[in-house]
């Protein structure tokens, strides 16, 4: 078998990017939820919110770390495997990456460090502000990076410089406000809310109804809620409902924004949307196919379950509208760009599109069911076998939005093929000319292995963190949760006399003691 360097490099890029994009949406949501919980604690002073802030903040930190190290890879990727793309589009793409780094990434990295280590060292309001800076930073990052992807979907704001054989950037504002970006950004953020929400729902519901805290726990004397374990269960119940609301509202918003994005995409890349529907012939009043068994090589499917007129409504917004089919578009592109195959892999586009919608709707439905059955403080009937079985399946829940999001990206990237930058450069023209198949294969194997290992370790750590009881000892900030550590309590200034040896904020006395002792060494 001949090793095709192009296919291996594409697969390597896909593996590395899809993996990165599992941790990014989680970080986006966890940062926002941490900020929200921290604010709730700041305003109400309730223990429950403080301890949830620490729990979600800890999940944010370990997730953000994976996002950081895999995001760094993205910064190099465009030169490693795709140097001709970097040469041709560096003027447009380079500034986007550079500005994302300078504007957003620095903010996130620096302020997350300040938040985690800033307990008791920053004034309370300033400390609260640091986590909000992180949350806003993640959104800026997402917007700017999605603008880069939008350029590949729908190149705007450039002039082709034939003399130097490269695109020249005309307007940064126009690049950022690419219609594809304006539709894809809210769609992506809503998807992120679903993924992060599903994780919190799974964690919260698991600890509320299955692995229920029984001893020790939250209650301090004078706590309004009274009993320790009860209070802790209520905290996890709050977390589950926050997660469920995020999943459900994210689901509704992905549907609404997905509709807008679909209409924009029908305009800029009609071939992609025709492939999503496996619509070969141009049709007026086109039906939407829910399920079909197609013929290899295209043409009329053996079987298709259709909703009449729905495709015309979804693609254009008018039941009588005409939707272009694959065959006509192929003929049109041959006339425009010369001979070639301009049809993406139709079965992949058709099924990834449906997987995205179907799996995403399933996750939203689970969240809605949870919200309904726990409305107004109702107890889940955990003794019923059906409920018990559903609860046992909770750990699978976060995988649903993750799968839906991945299917969405697989759809939008593969159905753009054969183009790298749509209508301008084909994928095979962007690859690094010097790259050999052996190198590409080595990189694919190495990334897969190391990323797989990181995923396993991340999973183990998350399971460990969420199994801990919500008491301060196990959720303390800083690198200080040593076993046998004699620090009794959490990162709060009032909790501990300020023993600097545990990474806690030192009191004035402690500082003086340090200062006095230092010269003896």
């Amino acid at each position: 078998m001949a090793l095709d360097v192009l296919d291996i490099t594409r697969l390597q890029f896909a593996v590395v990017t899809i993996y990165h994009y599992l941790f990014v949406p989680l970080s986006i949501t966890l940062a926002a939820v941490t900020a929200g919980l921290h604010t709730a604690w700041y305003r109400t002073g309730r223990e429950r919110y403080r301890r949830l802030t620490l729990l979600v903040g800890k999940l944010l930190l370990v997730t953000f770390a994976v996002g950081v190290v895999t995001g760094l890879v993205q910064e190099f990727q465009f030169g490693l495997g795709w140097s001709d793309f970097a040469r041709a589009y560096g003027d447009v793409f380079g500034p986007v990456l550079a500005i994302e780094g300078m504007l957003a990434f620095f903010l996130e990295a620096t302020f997350l460090g300040l938040w985690y280590f800033g307990w008791g060292r920053l004034p309370r309001l300033a400390h609260l502000a640091t986590i909000w800076v992180v949350a806003v930073g993640t959104l800026i990052s997402a917007f700017v990076i999605l603008a880069a992807n939008a350029f590949m979907q729908n190149p705007v704001a450039y002039t082709w410089d034939a003399e130097r054989g490269r695109a020249r950037l005309d307007s940064f504002a126009e690049l950022m406000t690419n219609p594809v970006n304006l539709a894809a950004f809210p769609h992506t953020i809503a998807g992120a809310a679903m993924l992060g929400g599903a994780l919190l729902l799974a964690v919260g519901a698991w600890r509320r109804w299955v692995h229920v805290p029984v001893a020790g726990g939250l209650g301090a004397p004078g706590e309004p809620e009274g009993q320790a374990d009860h209070e802790q269960r209520l905290a996890f119940g709050t977390l589950a409902r926050v997660g469920a609301w995020l999943t459900l509202s994210g689901g509704v918003l992905t549907a609404l924004t997905g509709d807008v994005l679909g209409k924009v995409m029908t305009r800029v890349q009609p071939m992609k949307m025709a492939a999503a529907e496996a619509l070969y012939t141009t049709t007026t009043g086109a039906p939407f196919s829910l399920f079909a068994v197609g013929r290899p090589g295209g043409g009329e499917p053996f079987f298709s379950l259709d909703v009449p007129y729905l495709l015309s409504v979804l693609a254009v917004g008018d039941p009588g509208a005409t939707v272009q089919g694959i065959d006509d578009l192929q003929a049109q592109y041959v006339a425009q760009h010369g001979p070639g195959d301009y049809v993406p892999v139709v079965w992949l586009a058709y099924w990834s599109f449906r997987a995205m919608i179907g799996i995403g709707m399933l996750a939203a439905a689970v969240a809605a069911a949870y919200l309904w059955s726990t409305r107004r403080g109702r107890e889940l009937p955990v003794r019923r076998p059906l409920v018990r079985r559903a609860l046992r399946a909770l750990p699978v829940l976060p995988l649903l939005p993750a799968a839906a999001g991945t299917a969405g990206w697989v759809f939008t990237e593969t159905a753009r093929q054969p183009w790298l930058a749509f209508g301008l450069t084909r994928t095979e023209d962007g690859i690094s000319p010097g790259l050999t198949a052996g190198e590409a294969l080595a990189a694919l194997a190495a990334f897969t292995l190391v990323y797989g290992l990181i995923a396993v370790v991340w999973g183990r750590l998350v399971l460990h963190v969420v199994r801990q009881d919500l008491d301060a000892g196990s959720l303390a900030a800083g690198e200080r949760d040593d076993a046998g550590d004699d620090a009794p309590t959490g990162p709060w200034p009032g909790d501990d006399p300020g023993d600097g040896s545990h990474g806690l904020p030192a009191t004035g006395a402690e500082r003086r003691r340090d200062g006095a002792r230092a010269p003896t060494y």
Binding site: L61, F64, A65, V69, T70, L72, E75, F76, G79, L80, S83, A86, Y89, G90, D91, G94, P95, A98, E100, G101, M102, F106, A109, T110, G113, L114, Y116, F117, G118, R164, R166, L169, F172, P433, G434, L435, T436, A437, G438, E439, A443, A446, F447, V450, I454, V457, W458, L461, H464, V465, S474, G478, E479, R480, D481, D482, D499, G500, S501, Y521
Partner: protein
């Protein structure tokens, strides 16, 4: 001075900030399991960089991103021409970042022990690799007319395409020097940021490493003089500064010692990146000087340079400001001694 030259200067500045800042956290990562005799001390050592390492690493993102934006052809030639070494750098950095962030989030000491080992191994590996890569940046790559490094057919030749530049004595010396430099930065930083036994041990390590570095630099200067190239200013200067750094560290002036080590690293990075600047070359071709990438041929067009100039003017002072603020807020020393409570 035109915008291209300004941006070349800024690219160099980003790399300098990356190597000096991340250099010390590489060093701390490598030293933590050596200096810390128990879990508590190792945690204290890692805690000195806990809040900062991520912000430091973003300077690598900035350096690479700015190179991509201002000099797309330089970026493309470097990344593609050093494919496997950079993949290795990225994998080591991935393992390192994860080890650093994961170590304190688990309650088991054996978990932390494993994370510490991974942290030390990846820190040393990545610093050595970067040292070797800097010598390659200075010497250049076998660039063809299209700015690419090509290989003859065959699996072995293909794999050797981008690894071959690292197989040289210069690269080996670069790797060794980088490890010493990171250890010196790390030791002086631990000395600066801790109290207790860690601080004492870090200071001893700093003195030894500074002395070794001074001797090494002096030998390099001597070798240069004997081979007729004349004593290199960099080697002589480094030997002198490192000797002073050793004395400063011994006298407990960790801040000054750290600054001295930073100056040596910065000078070395500037020297490596500006090796061809006299001829206007950013990346030399070892095949044919005509294929070398120059400031003019590798740079982006005017509109892009103007855009990133605005972005840089508006954003970078703020970045420097809040990073300095985070160092200031979290300036308090980490105590490594066990204090009875």
């Amino acid at each position: 001075m035109d915008l291209v030259t300004v941006w070349f200067g800024l690219v160099v500045l980003c790399w300098v900030l990356f190597f000096v800042l991340e250099g010390f956290d590489f060093g701390v990562g490598a030293l933590a399991p050596l200096l810390g005799r128990d879990d508590h001390e190792r945690s204290a050592a890692v805690r000195t960089i806990g809040p900062f390492w991520d912000g430091n690493e973003v300077w690598l993102v900035a350096a690479v991103g700015v190179t991509f934006a201002a000099f797309p052809d330089w970026y493309a030639a470097l990344m593609s021409g050093l494919f496997l070494p950079f993949v290795l750098v990225l994998l080591l950095l991935a393992g390192r970042g994860v080890a650093l962030e994961f170590r304190g989030k688990h309650s088991s000491p054996s978990w932390r022990r494993r994370c510490d080992r991974a942290l030390a191994a990846t820190s040393l590996g990545v610093v050595a690799l970067f040292g070797a890569l800097l010598t390659v940046f200075a010497r250049g790559l076998a660039l063809g007319a299209d700015g690419e490094v090509t290989s003859s057919p065959g699996l072995g030749a293909g794999l050797a395409r981008t690894l071959a530049p690292l197989a040289s004595w210069t690269a080996l010396v670069g790797a060794g020097a980088a490890v010493l430099a990171a250890l010196l930065l790390g030791a002086t930083f631990i000395g600066l940021r801790t109290t207790g036994p860690l601080r004492v041990r870090a200071r001893r390590v700093a003195v030894v490493v500074a002395a070794a570095g001074a001797v090494g630099a002096a030998l390099a200067a001597l070798a240069g003089a004997l081979s007729g190239a004349g004593p290199a200013l960099l080697a002589v200067g480094a030997a002198g500064v490192l000797a002073v750094v050793g004395v400063l560290a011994a006298r407990r002036h960790e801040a000054l010692a750290f600054a001295g080590a930073g100056v040596v690293v910065a000078a070395a990075v500037v020297a490596a990146l500006t090796a061809g600047l006299a001829d206007g070359v950013v990346l030399a071709s070892t095949l044919d000087p005509a294929h070398s990438l120059s400031l003019a041929s590798a740079s982006a067009t005017g509109s892009t340079l103007r855009l990133i100039s605005w972005a840089g003017v508006l954003v970078l002072p703020g970045v420097l400001g809040y990073q300095a603020f985070s160092y200031w807020v979290l300036r308090q020393r980490v105590a490594s001694e066990r204090v009875p409570t």
